[in-house]
Symmetry: D2
Subunit: 474 residues, 4 copies
C-alpha cells in the first residue's frame, strides 16, 4: 500500500504528583510516529508556581531527530502535550508544526489537533471580519481563536472549549493544555480516535492505546464521541453535551492507519485486519500455493486469508529498513535497469508458485504493479491480488490525504481494467458490505468508498478548505 | 563602550519594474547588521499574479549565516521587507524573529519594526478582551492586530495603518508589506531613523542611509517624524497627519548606534563623532603625548580630540576580528593569567607615553578598566579617559537596552569615584549642554542622560512593558 | 537477537563503457547497509585521462545520511569502490572509515576490506621496523603498505596484491582500485563472502549477491576462496595461487549476518534459515499452539519450525521502525514502569496460547528474557524458546564482534540454567551436528561454537590484534 | 591589501606541572588565526600514564567554529600542539588539516608545520621507492616518514628529528609532540618565525609572540634559525647543528603576515610598518591634504607616512566586520549597480581632498582600483597611491601563495602603466633598497621582489612541488 497520509497523532499528560512528564511525551509520540513523520513538537508547563509559563520545542523531523538529550533536559513540567504531524509540503511548513502555543486573555494555551474541520472558512471568516490575524494556515489556530473569544465571557476554560466545539464541523481529536488543566475532546461522530489512560496519579490522552502502553499506563477507556474530559486538581470531569446519536469511526484506522497493537473503540486493530483477510478469502478465493502480504501493511490480512483458505502463508519480500528520508531515489533510467530498493523478492519462496498477494489498499497502483512484476521475474507462475478494502472512489474531508481522482487507479475503471493495468492474474477487492463484519458491527465512516458522509459536506471544496485566506486586497 | 544594545534595523523595497529584489534585501540587511546580530529575516512577495503569496525565511544568526545561496535562490519577488534584530535571550527567541508574516481580512501582511512602544499593555489588553490570541511577545504582533481590526472598516491598508499609528505611543521605524503596497512609517518624534531611497523604478526604505548605498540606491530623503509613505503602482504618497511639532531624535544613534558612513536627519554620523571629540578636547583638555580610541567605537571621537588638541592620534590596540559568536570566553582564572583576547596593546606605541583614551560611553566600566590596566602594563605613564557622551543615569523606554541602575557605574557615583574605580589618571565626560553642538542643533532625545522624556512615561515599568500576558487563569 | 556485530560490506565496480558508476555504488552500499551502520564511504576515479585522480567521501553515518544529492553529483567516474562499516567506538572513528585512499610508488590506490587478519602485529611490526608510519589502526592500512612495498619490485599491481595476500592470515573480502584496474580478493578459506556480477560491460564485486540485484546486475559467480580476480581493459583474469584445499565459510552469515535474499557460495540464505527452523523442530519439538519469531532475525527459522511441526505460524510482535540512532533510550526506572519501545506484543495473538518463540541466537540473554516477560504479561500460558544456532562459547578472530566470555550467557552455564535465567518454559538450541545439514554440506567455520578454528590461532589475543602500536618511547 | 595567503601558524605547549593545556592551545590558535582561516586542529596527550595516547580534533573552519565547549571538554592533557592552516581548495582538504597524528615504531607522533619544503619530490621519491604510502599531499607527512625511518636507528626522537631536518630544504617552523617530549625546529635560514615562551612550568612554542601574550606567557626568545629545542622532563635542550651562517627572514611577515603586536627576531611588526610608511614618505612624497590607509593592512604604514610628511592622517573607510565566510558575493551586475560591501567611504572625510592612499602591497590590482574609484566618486580630488613594499615579480617557493605571473599586475608593467590601470593620480612603491632600513638591518629574504633566493631553487617547479605523486601505473 501507500500513498495515503494520515494527519496526526496527539498526546497529553498531567501528573498530579508533580513528576516530570516530558520523557513520557517523548515515548508516547515515538509510539505514535506512524501517524505522522514530517514534524513533531512538545509543549510543557508547570501547574504550580509560574503556571502557564510554557516551554516548547517543535520542528520538522522524526521525534528522535527533533528531540535530543539536551533539548529534553531543558524541558520540565508536570503537564504537557505533544503532536506528530504529516503535513503537506511547502516553504514554511515548520511554522505549521504543532502544538500551537499562544497567549490570550486567560494566560497561555497550547493545542494539539488530529483531524480536519469542514467549516474552517466560515469559522475563519467570522474571526477575520472582527480583525483577527493568522500566523498559520492550520485549523488549530482557528479553534484557538474561538476559544479565546469565548473565554472573554465564560467562567472556565472548559466552558470556552465546549462553546467552541459546538461550532466545529468535522473530525477532531484534540488535546488542550491551559495553565492548570488538561482537556481532551473528540468530535461527535468519533471520526478520529482518542483514549484516556492512567499511570499512578498521572492521566493521559492519546490518539491510540499503543501510546499508553509505551509509557506503562493502563488503558481506562476511549474518550466517547462528542465527549470532553477535563483533568484538573479536582480530578476527572466528563461532559457529553456534544454527543451525536450516530457514530462513524473512520474505517481506515482499522484498515491501515492505526498500529497493529492498538485497540480503538473496543475493536482490536490486529483482530480486525486478520478478520478482513478471512472475509476476503471467503468472498474472493484463489487457487494458489502461497499467500503473502505487502510489507508491512498487507501482512496481517494475508495471515487471515491464509487461515481461512488453508493456503500456506509465507514471506516473499525482504524489506530494507535503512532507507531513510534522505534516500536518493533511483532515476527512471536506473529504476528500469535496477530494481526496487526498498523491497526485494525472496526468490526461493516464490519460484514456480501461484501466489496470492494481499495488500490493504491500492491508491495509484504503481507500487503493486511493480511488485507483481518482481514476483513474476522471480519465477512466480501466477499472482492473484487481494485487497482488504473496497476501491477508493470519493474524497475524504476529515484528514486523510487521498489523492485526487485523476491519480486514483480505481476512479472510472472496472476491477478487470485495474487487474489488467497492474498485471495481476486476478484481482479481488473487499466488498463494502463486508466492512461491518470486519469491524464487528461498530459504526463506521466508509465515505471514501461509498461517498456517504456522516455529515453534510455540500459546498466543501476538496483540498481547499484549509488554504490560506485568499481574499486579495485591491 | 559596549553593553548597550540596539533593537533592530529594517529594510523594504518595491521594484516597479518587476525585478527580483531579494538580493538587495540581503545586501541591505548586511549593511544594517551592526543594528542587530541575534536574528534576521526576509519576507518576499509578488505584486502581480498570486499577489500576497508571501515566502519568508527567518532564524537566529547573522545575515550571512541565516541565508545561503540555495535559500535565496528559492525566494523571488518584486516586493520585500527584511529585519535584523537584537533580541533578549529566552527559550523561544526564534519565534520572535521578524518580519512578522500573517494573514487577515485583506490577505497577507508582513511587518518589520525597529523601536519600542510604551503603551503595549493597553493596546494588548484591548485586543485580549475581545478574544485575541498572541503567538509572540513582540510589539509588532500588537501593531498587526490593530491594523487588522481597523482594516475591517477602512478602504485601504494605508488607512488602517494610519489609524493604528495614531494609537501607538513610543518609538518606531516601521516597514509594512501588503500584497501590492510597501509602507514606511516613523514615530511622530522621529526617535527612530528611517529613510527613503531609489534605484531606477525601485523604492527603498531603510533604517540608515548606509543600506541605500550598499544596494546602489540614491538617498532621496529621511521619512519625516510622523510621516507615513506608501509606495504603490500609483507612485509615492505621503501622509503627515501624525506629525508632532516637537521632534526628538535619539542622540545615541549619533554617539554609538548608527554606522559611521550614514547620514540621519541631515546629520552625518562621522561628522558628529569628530565634533564630539573636538568638544570634549575643549571642555576636558589633557596634557598628554598621544590620543587613542577604543576600537571601533571610540576611534572617530579620538580623531576629533586629536585635531582639536593638537596631540597626535595613534592606534594603541590590535583588534582580533576572528572572535565570533561561538568563541569560548576564558574562565575567570584564565582571564587573570592571560589577557584580553579581543584587544591587545601595541606596546611600542604606548610605552612611556601619557595617553588620552577616548570612548563613546561607559556602561558597567569593566571593559574600560581592563583596557587602562593593559595600557599601564604595557608601559603607559598616564591614562586620561575621555568619554564622548554624558553619564547614563536614566532608563530608555524606546528600544535601547540600557542595563538597570545597579549595573550602571555612573549610577550614584561622582566622576571622581568612577575615575578611581576604573584606575584612570583623569576622567572627563561630555557635558549634556554640548550635545546640541555636537548635533548641530537638530532636536534630540537625551533622556538616558537627563531623564527628560519627549512623551509622558509615567507608569511605564522599565523592562516589563513587553512581557507576555500575565493574567493567570484561576 | 542482537549483540553481534558484523565488520563490513564491500562493493566495487568498473564500467568499461565509461558510464558514471557512482549511483550504482550508492545503491549497492544501501543494499549492504545491514552489514555495517557506523560509517561508509565511496572512492571513485576515471580510467581515462587523469587516471588515478581519486575523489572520495566518507563519514560516520548511514549511506543515505553521508551521501546527499550534491555530494554524489560531484563524484563521477567509471571505476569506484565503496564500503559500509561497523566500527568500534572511540574518539577518532571517522579516521578509520573506508575506503582507504592513498598514493604510493605507482600512483594512487583505494582499498575496502571486510574481515579481520590475525597476523596484523607481525605484519605491522615488519613495516614499523623499516620506518613506516600509520594514520589509522585498521588492517587495511597494513595491507596497503605491504602492497606498496611489493609494488617496488613487481611488474603489475595484481602481482603486488598477490604477494601481499600470501602474507595475510585471517579473513578477508577485499576490493582494490588502482588507476586502471579493479581487483577482488578473497581469503583462502573463504571465511568472508565476495561475489562477481555483471551489467552490460560493467563488472561488479560485492560482499553479497543482494547488492548485485539492487543495481540490476546479473550474478556471475562467487569469487572462490583464495581467488584474486582482476578486472581491466583486458577483461577478467583469475588467479588461484592462494587457494587452500580446505574451505570454511562463516556459518553466521547464514544464521544472521547475510540478507535473506542473498545466495552465498551456492547456498540461499532464506533456504538455510527455513531449514534451520525445520531441523530445530525435529530435534527440539514443542507442544504448543503458535510459533512466532523475534523480528526480524528469528522470523524465517520460525516459519521453518512451523512448517516442520505443523504448529501455526503467527506474528506476535509489532516492531516500531521509527527508532533511529539518536533515539534516547528509557532510563532503568522508565523501563520498569513502561515497556519495550522497539517491540510490542500483539495481545490477541498470544493470549492464552502456548508459544514457541524462535530466534537466531542468544548473546547476553537480556533481550530474550524481556520478550518472554512481555509475552507472559500479555497472557501467553507457556513460552518455549528455540534458537537456530548452538550456544556461543568461543571468540571469533575473523571479524565478528562477539562479546567477551563474562558477557555471554552461555559461557559456563547449562541450557537448563540459561532457561531458568531467561524465564522460558523450555529452551532448545540447534545441535552443532545439524549445522552441516542446514548448510547442505558446504564447508563451514563453526569456531564460535566449537573452538575449532580453520587456521592456527595460538597466541592471537582476543580483541587486541588490531590495537594501535603500543611500544612506547623511552 | 589582499590576495596573498600565508600557509600556517603553529603552537605547542608542555606543562610540567601536569595542568590541562588544551584551553591555552585554543586561545593561542585564536591569536594566530590571521595566519590561516581554512582549517585548524589540536592534538593533545598526557606525558604520564597512557603516554602517547593522543586525542585530536581537526576540521575545516575557524578555531571558534571547529572547537565548541563540549569538544574542548573531552580533550585533556599536559602536552599538546595546534595548527591553523590556509589550504588551497579541493575535494578532500579536510584530509590535509593538521596536526598530523600517526603511529610508528616508537609509539605516536604529532606534527604541525608552517612553511614549504622545496625538495619534497626527492624526499618523497626516496620513501616511495621503499614502499611508502601517503594519505595526504602535505610536506608534513613526508617529514614524519623520514623521522620514523631514522627513529629505527636512533636513541631518541630528537636525534631522529635532527637527522631528518638535515635532509629538509626549504622553510619550516615545526612543532612535534612525542609521548613525552615537545620539540620545536626552525629552518636554518629562519625563513619562518618560531618563538619560545614560558608560563610557570609550562613551555610554549608559537609562530608569533602575540600567541604567547594571549595565554599569559612571557616571551623567552626566538627559536634561532636552524635551532632545535627539546622540552622534556629534563628541561630545555637546544641543538644548533643545523644553523647556517646566512639568515634570511621572510620580509612579508613584517609587511603583511604577522600581527601588529608581534615581535619577530627582535623586530617589532608595528614599528617596522610605521617605519615603512616613513621611508615611503621620504622617497615618494605627495602634495596632499590627507593620508589614509586601506583597512586593516595599510593603516600603520599610512600612520608612518603621515608622521614623516606632516600631512594629517584620517580614516576614509568604514569596514563592515560582519561579512563572514558564507557571505554571498554580489554578482558582476549587482557589483556594478551597487558598491563595495566590505568597505564604504566616509564621504565627509574625503570630499574635495587630495588623498594619499597607502597599502602594504598590490597583487592583482582590482581591489585598489575599486577603492580609488570609490574615493573619487565620493569627491576626492586626487588619489596618490603609496605601497609599502616593492612590486611582486617572482614566485615564492617557501609557503606564500603568490598568484602566477599572468595575474600579478606588476608583471611586465612599468609603475606608470600600473598607475594608469588602477586610475591613481600618482603611484609610488617602496624601493627594495629601503627594506633593510625598514627592518633595522636584520637579514631578509626579499626573493619575491628581487628573485634572489637564499638557497638554490633551480629545478623547483612553481606550485608543483607539493602535488600528489604523479607517476602513473601502466
Amino acid at each position: 500500500m501507500a500513498g495515503l497520509k494520515e494527519a496526526c497523532g496527539v498526546f497529553g499528560i498531567y501528573d498530579m504528583d508533580g513528576g516530570n512528564v516530558v520523557p513520557s511525551v517523548y515515548y508516547g509520540l515515538t509510539a505514535l510516529q506512524h501517524r505522522g513523520q514530517e514534524s513533531c513538537g512538545i509543549a510543557v508547563s508547570r501547574t504550580e508556581g509560574e503556571a502557564g509559563n510554557i516551554c516548547f520545542h517543535k520542528d520538522l523531523g522524526l521525534v528522535n531527530e527533533v528531540f535530543h538529550e539536551d533539548t529534553l533536559a531543558k524541558m520540565q513540567g508536570d503537564i504537557a502535550i505533544g503532536h506528530v504531524r504529516y503535513s503537506t509540503t511547502g516553504a514554511s511548513v515548520a511554522e505549521n508544526a504543532q502544538p500551537l502555543v499562544l497567549s490570550y486573555i486567560k494566560g497561555t494555551l497550547a493545542l494539539a489537533h488530529n483531524g480536519n474541520l469542514i467549516n474552517t472558512p466560515e469559522l475563519k471568516w467570522e474571526l477575520i471580519q472582527n480583525g483577527a490575524i493568522f500566523h498559520t494556515t492550520t485549523d488549530s489556530e482557528v479553534i484557538a481563536f474561538h476559544i479565546a473569544r469565548e473565554r472573554v465571557h465564560t467562567k472556565s476554560v472548559e466552558e470556552a472549549v465546549l462553546k467552541t466545539a459546538k461550532k466545529l464541523k468535522g473530525a477532531y481529536g484534540l488535546v488542550i493544555m491551559s495553565p492548570r488543566k488538561l482537556i481532551g475532546v473528540r468530535d461527535p461522530y468519533g471520526l478520529k480516535p482518542l483514549c484516556l489512560g492512567r499511570r499512578g496519579n498521572a492521566y493521559i490522552f492519546a490518539s491510540e492505546s499503543c501510546a499508553l502502553k509505551s509509557v506503562g499506563a493502563e488503558f481506562i477507556r476511549d474518550v466517547e464521541p462528542g465527549e470532553m474530559i477535563t483533568v484538573s486538581r479536582n480530578g476527572i470531569e466528563s461532559n457529553k453535551e456534544l454527543e451525536k446519536k450516530k457514530h462513524a469511526h473512520c474505517v481506515f484506522e482499522y484498515i491501515y492507519f492505526a498500529r497493529l497493537d492498538s485497540t480503538l473503540d473496543g475493536l482490536n486493530v490486529y483482530d480486525a485486519r486478520i478478520r478482513g483477510g478471512r472475509l476476503l478469502a471467503e468472498s474472493h478465493p484463489a487457487d494458489a500455493d502461497l499467500v503473502t502480504g505487502v510489507p508491512e501493511s498487507g501482512i496481517p490480512a494475508a495471515k487471515g486469508f491464509s487461515e481461512a483458505s488453508g493456503i500456506p502463508f509465507g514471506l516473499a519480500f525482504y524489506k530494507n529498513s535503512y532507507i531513510g528520508r534522505t534516500f536518493i531515489k533511483p532515476t527512471q533510467k536506473e529504476r528500469e535497469s535496477s530494481v526496487h530498493m526498498k523491497l526485494s523478492v525472496l526468490d526461493p519462496v516464490v519460484r514456480g508458485k501461484r501466489i496470492v498477494l494481499v495488500d490493504d489498499s491500492i491508491v495509484r497502483g504503481t507500487t503493486i504493479a511493480n511488485l507483481i512484476h518482481m514476483l513474476k521475474e522471480a519465477g512466480a507462475r501466477e499472482v492473484h491480488v487481494r485487497i482488504s478494502s473496497p476501491p477508493f472512489l470519493c474524497p475524504c474531508y476529515f484528514g486523510t490525504d487521498v489523492p485526487s481522482n485523476d491519480q486514483l487507479i480505481a476512479s472510472g475503471r472496472t476491477a478487470e481494467e485495474i487487474r489488467d493495468m497492474i498485471g495481476a492474474d486476478s484481482l479481488g477487492y473487499m466488498e463494502i458490505g463486508c466492512l461491518e463484519d470486519m469491524a464487528e458491527g461498530i459504526p463506521l465512516c466508509k465515505a471514501c468508498f461509498d461517498g456517504k458522509y456522516p455529515m453534510d459536506t455540500a459546498g466543501v471544496e476538496e483540498g481547499s478548505f484549509c488554504s490560506p485566506v485568499s481574499k486579495k486586497e485591491k
